[in-house]
């Protein structure tokens, strides 16, 4: 402030602050007193707030506040509240017979939406967020299943897993590596037969020789007609779905070296309700049986 502070505005007769911006001067009107009281009130409020709520940073953590509030605590409360709210549904889901789940639409909706979230957290790493799988990881959207596609069969697979050392009830089967059993030409013949089984272009003469080898070596698991065996997780070789590729090169590699995947048992990490929920979710992706 300069000595010009006593400059009087002609229009209003009120003193200006003496400052001038592009020819505009500010009148020095007094503030209303209640405004000052509000200002003091906000200061008192602010002090009270820092006492009631976490505020002042200390060496290892901030002051906790008398109300003991924390945002994490609030989230925990909300999650607890939701779980309490859903407790009866969760119990019902734990006990439900999955085969007749669709007789209870409310429980089915609950299972599917819960299962979707279980799937995204635990399954999508291998099977993909859209459940389309990839080479070596089964596509869960199609109508072909290695170990069965009813809700109960899916739940069993989720619960115990496949070819793992942890769960004695895990699905288990192993295809031998025929590179150590067959000659190179024999492998080529078997591959031609498999191409014939699935209706693809093939060498008829080779396929005929391969059929003999197939009946002898492969049909025990894949079946005489090549339609596979779900008890053994042996894939159907006559359809259009291939876990490791259905072209001659891929088939040759598979027959020579053998290929199979593993899956961990999820009963150790998921609750029974979560297992059933994810089974219900996978079942309604399009291939459920």
């Amino acid at each position: 402030m300069t000595e010009q502070a006593n400059d009087i505005d002609q229009e209003t007769g009120i003193e200006t602050t003496g400052h001038e911006w592009d020819g505009i001067k500010e009148l020095n009107n007094p503030l209303p007193r209640w405004w000052l009281w509000c200002f003091y009130l906000t200061i008192i409020w602010g002090v009270g707030y820092t006492i009631a709520y976490p505020a002042w940073p200390l060496v290892s953590r901030a002051t906790g506040g008398l109300l003991g509030y924390s945002t994490r605590g609030e989230v925990v409360e909300q999650i607890d509240a939701f779980e309490t709210q859903n407790a009866s549904l969760t119990t019902a889901l734990t006990e439900v017979d999955l085969a007749v789940l669709d007789e209870n639409p409310e429980l089915q909706r609950f299972a599917i939406s819960g299962g979707a979230s279980v799937f995204r957290s635990h399954c999508s790493q291998c099977h993909g967020s859209g459940a389309a799988g990839g080479i070596g990881y089964p596509n869960l959207l199609d109508d072909d299943w290695l170990w069965g596609g009813t809700r109960d069969e899916i739940a069993y697979t989720v619960r115990h897993g496949i070819r793992n050392e942890v769960d004695p009830d895990a699905h288990w089967s192993e295809m031998p590596a025929y590179g150590q059993i067959f000659e190179r030409e024999e492998i080529d013949d078997v591959v031609q037969h498999v191409l014939a089984l699935s209706g693809q272009a093939h060498e008829a003469a080779m396929a005929e020789r391969g059929a003999v080898l197939f009946a002898d070596q492969c049909s025990a698991c894949h079946g005489e007609d090549g339609r596979g065996n779900r008890d053994l997780g042996a894939p159907n070789l006559t359809d259009a779905i291939w876990l490791y590729g259905g072209d001659p090169t891929s088939l040759t590699y598979t027959v020579t070296n053998s290929r199979f995947g593993v899956m961990p048992p999820w009963s150790t990490r998921l609750t029974e309700a979560e297992v059933k929920a994810v089974a219900a979710y996978v079942h309604q992706l399009g291939g459920g049986e």
Binding site: N6, I8, N29, P30, L31, P32, G130, L141, D144, D239
Partner: protein
């Protein structure tokens, strides 16, 4: 100049005791007060039958279920653009009225003005008119003063409680909530809201009054930018009134300096000083002055709705231009046109709202699925919305000549039932056999039809079918 003390930093509120006045504008304001307060207090109690599973309150903002009901209109959250449109219309409407008639919103319809008017009315009934109130303020705190003050505060408080109470009725079923409120079973949020609204109504209407308009409200500053020389505002014809003085003094103008205009002013200003920030153009000074002018046998309109652009004309002794000349200008016509355009657009949008609301979202993760027989399947997330009070059945189909097959997840028929007042999300499959061109073509156009089984109404969405690429 340096001899004077520096101006005070803070000023106490100057008490204002508006005198009773009658006249055209006062009557108009009583009517507007009656209508606006009536709308506010009574609207939640209007009933509107929507069937058994929907609320029967005509105007209801159902936050818990995310619905807004307005008589026959029901708005869901995804239709919030209707509310946005209404807000834009409200904004443009304010622009229009401000550029034509100045702070007419402030003077007649602003809740702060309406409730303050009501509180002043109560004050006058209990404590008497201006002179009695001035005397009462100066008086010692006798039993009579306590009695008058406490009566006044009690009535104010009752109005304030009714105001806060009416507010919460807009958000849940009014009769139920009233019963719960009276039996102390209502949700704490309801009581808290009523308490806050009661407190602010009591404080703002009873004590803060003009302080709210002068210091808290941003609108007067914005309005200043919207007025121009043609805007009709309340003004004083100083060329007619000055020099002011007592009657029978021959040298004076029409103003007899009776202070009637100052005494009735709820903002505590003297309109004869010209347009000022505090003036809310409530026009009560016009009524007061006209009354006096009639009594002394002078023409009315010493204080009147004036346009600044008429001042040179009037000073030169010519009559002012007619009001329509100031009101119908390019600016106001443009505002009206914009306002109407949005209004017509909203009404149009409201009437063409589809009865079948449906979205079809093609699932792109993955783009297609190969089935065991070599068929190609695409998945579509179909959302169907039923706004009616009873369940509806919808049949999904493709165009009749389409060779592709359509299936609905979990259903043998392609009919799905949507519960009343809800939305369903369903996975719908479209399958192309290996021999169909669509199974190998990159993209095939597709039209999904939905038919209301009950009413046979149909709707469709166009989408795309992805084949095995390449």
């Amino acid at each position: 100049m340096s001899s004077s003390d520096p101006p005070p930093l803070y000023a106490a509120q100057e008490p204002i005791f508006p005198r009773r006045v009658s006249g055209f504008y006062r009557s108009l304001k009583w009517w507007i007060m009656g209508v606006t307060l009536g709308i506010y207090y009574l609207t939640p109690w209007i009933r509107w039958d929507r069937g058994p599973s929907l609320p029967d309150q005509a105007v209801l903002v159902d936050l818990a279920n995310r619905r807004f009901y307005f008589f026959w209109i029901e708005i869901w959250p995804h239709e919030f653009y209707f509310v946005a449109g209404l807000l834009i219309m409200a904004g443009l409407g304010l622009f229009l009225f401000t550029s034509a008639l100045g702070r007419v919103w402030c003077g007649y319809t602003c809740p702060q003005t309406v409730w303050t008017d009501l509180f002043i009315l109560v004050e006058r009934w209990i404590e008497g008119d201006r002179n009695a109130r001035v005397r009462l303020r100066e008086a010692d705190w006798t039993a009579r003063k306590w009695q008058l003050r406490l009566t006044k505060w009690t009535v104010w408080l009752l109005i304030a409680v009714a105001t806060g109470g009416a507010w919460v009725f807009y958000f849940t079923d009014a009769p139920t909530l009233l019963r719960d409120l009276l039996t102390f079973e209502a949700h704490p949020v309801a009581y808290t809201t009523i308490a806050i609204m009661t407190g602010t109504t009591f404080l703002f209407g009873g004590f803060m009054r003009e302080q709210v308009c002068i210091y808290m409200c941003p609108w007067p500053r914005i309005q200043g930018a919207m007025m121009d020389d043609h805007t009709l505002t309340v003004g004083y014809r100083d060329w007619r009134g000055e020099p002011r003085g007592k009657k029978h003094e021959n040298t004076t103008g029409d103003c007899i300096d009776c202070m009637a205009c100052v005494n009735v002013c709820p903002m505590g200003i003297d309109i004869r000083d010209g347009q000022q920030l505090e003036c809310i153009t409530c026009a009560l000074c016009i009524d007061a002055c006209d009354d006096v002018m009639e009594k002394i046998g002078k023409p009315r309109g010493l204080i009147d709705y004036l346009a600044l652009s008429d001042e040179p004309l009037e000073r030169a002794g010519q009559p002012p231009r007619p009001a329509w000349h100031h009101i119908f200008r390019v600016r106001t016509v443009l505002y009206t046109a914009l306002w109407s355009l949005i209004g017509v657009g909203l009404v149009f949008a409201l009437f063409v709202r589809a009865d079948i609301e449906l979205t079809v979202e093609p699932v792109r993760n993955p783009t297609f699925i190969t089935l065991s027989d070599g068929s190609v399947r695409n998945v579509y997330n179909v959302r169907l919305r039923n706004k009616l009070g009873e369940p509806r059945e919808f049949r999904m189909s493709l165009a009749s000549d389409d060779i592709l097959r359509i299936d609905v997840e979990g259903a043998d028929t392609n009919v799905l039932t949507v519960d009343p007042d809800s939305t369903t999300l369903t996975r719908v499959y479209v399958t192309a056999r290996p021999q169909d061109p669509a199974s190998t073509e990159d993209r095939t156009d597709l039209r999904l039809w939905v038919e209301d089984v009950g009413s046979a109404e149909r709707a469709y969405r166009d989408t795309v079918f992805n084949g095995r690429a390449g």
